[in-house]
Amino acid sequence: MSFKIKVSKSGFDVLDATDAKNFIFDSDFNHLKTAGSGSYTQAMDTTDRHTTTIAHGLAYRPLAMAYWRDTANSKWLIASADPEDTVGRHSINASCGLYCDATNIYIRLWNYTGGTTTFEVKYEFFYEGDA
């Protein structure tokens, strides 16, 4: 016999609910577990590129997420891939790329606004990864 821990959403009977969507926590499923998170600001010169390297210590490629913004603009954006090739998708002349290997998370910023500015970045990476 296996034991389980389940917490249902409000309004659902934890004993009778069968749809996994109706559980806030269900030990039958793995969950993303945060291995690390952080934030930083980066001053950027005109047409500047800057890569921040963050050691994750996991020995495999982890799932990771990053959000960023130009501090002159309140709009937060999700990081995509290589900023040099995705610039323009957000209708602003700057971009942020996120990639990883088995050692590090890399966050690459690219400023093409024509002026100096400061970027703000928030990131999180998980124990789940390279399947």
């Binding site: 309004g11 996994a20 969950h31 995509s80 290589d82």
Partner: protein, 348 residues
């Protein structure tokens, strides 16, 4: 019986306004002027507590506000204030002047004849009850209060900590309540049928109507080390909080595909789920060609060369992921590796 204490947890959730002196609303100051200031000008304090987990229909049995002295001002006379609730289902953030918002009918005199630390309000049960009884109130909403000067004596200045002044000594709202009785209805159906062989049947069922407040108010929380699981009201203090769902992994795996290819990953969820995909991709090698990266990127990339382009993206369906890689005249052969996660949660 349940109880909880809520604190000011972020900027924009407390502030004050020098009403008598014609000052502007301030939500970034380091203290909150209680009653009136040293010039005798009346002040109004606004407070907003988030994630107040009291089920609609609950009966409030105790409610008080507590504040901590900010360090100056010995009252020369009696501070006289009157406390109102902000009459909203889910009090909006206080970054704009809240003093003109609709107040609760219920209000409570709060007078302080001497400097004390902390100060504790009289019972605010009537105010909290009026807010919880609003038709649009639901557990987890934000609850707001306004503390107005009510003809304090001259020069009774006394100020109390704001979130910006000392985030560990903000005003606190302590509430005790009893949950509403479970909404349970019972339906009994009996059917008898007689034939020559005389058969009969009866069914009986009890239907519990959800949400059942008695059940729904059960909360499971696990704090980070050093945090008090009972008293902490700051979400980031918790590893797990049953008020908030977690992403549950439905499936994960790795894939390999050619540089022009479509990798289909089937799933059985029947709706559009959250998913994350990482892959290698192509980048300029600096000499006119392209190479496959060693690193893995979010599978959302685009490469443009003088006479070629290449891109990768993921399409999510209710029964599959299509992991797409397309290339036009891209001169590098090879395979691309990646991995994916599909989550149980549905994109709404």
């Amino acid at each position: 019986m349940a109880s909880a204490t809520y604190y000011i947890t972020a900027e924009g959730n407390d502030g004050d306004k020098d009403i008598g002196g014609g000052g502007a609303w301030s939500y970034t100051g380091t203290d909150l002027q209680f009653g009136s200031d040293s010039s005798g000008d009346a002040h109004t304090i606004g407070l907003r507590f988030v994630s107040v987990a009291i089920a609609a229909g609950s009966t409030i049995t105790a409610a008080t506000l507590t504040g901590h002295l900010a360090g100056f001002g010995v009252p020369d006379g009696t501070l006289r204030t009157r406390v109102y609730g902000i009459d909203e289902d889910n009090t909006a953030i206080l970054t704009s002047d809240p003093t003109g918002r609709t107040k609760t009918t219920a209000n409570v005199n709060w007078d302080e004849a001497s400097k004390t630390d902390p100060i504790v309000s009289p019972s605010l049960v009537s105010i909290v009850q009026e807010i919880v009884d609003r038709g649009g109130w639901s557990s987890g909403n934000a609850m707001g209060f306004l503390i107005l000067d009510d003809s304090s004596d001259a020069d009774p200045a006394s100020s109390y900590e704001s979130y910006e002044g000392d985030s560990s000594s903000t005003f606190a709202l302590a509430i005790t309540w009893t949950l509403p009785a479970s909404s349970t209805s019972s339906t009994t159906t009996s059917t008898s049928t007689s034939t020559t062989s005389s058969t009969s049947s009866s069914t009986s069922s009890t239907t519990t109507q959800w949400p059942d407040p008695n059940y729904a108010q059960g909360i499971m929380r696990i704090t980070k080390e050093g945090r008090d699981v009972i008293n902490s009201n700051y979400l980031d203090d918790f590893f797990f909080d049953s008020d908030y769902p977690l992403l549950k992994v439905h499936d994960y795996g790795s894939f390999t595909t050619g540089i022009t290819g479509l990798k289909e990953i089937a799933h059985t969820l029947g709706y559009i789920p959250y998913a994350m995909v990482f892959s290698q991709y192509l980048e300029n090698d600096g000499g006119g060609g392209v190479t496959i990266t060693d690193e893995y990127y979010q599978h959302d990339w685009f490469l443009r060369g003088a006479s070629y382009y290449s891109y990768g993206y993921t399409k999510i369906y209710d029964d599959k992921l299509d992991i797409v890689i397309e290339n036009i005249n891209t001169p590098t052969p090879g395979t691309i590796n990646g991995f994916y996660y599909i989550f149980v949660e549905e994109v709404i």
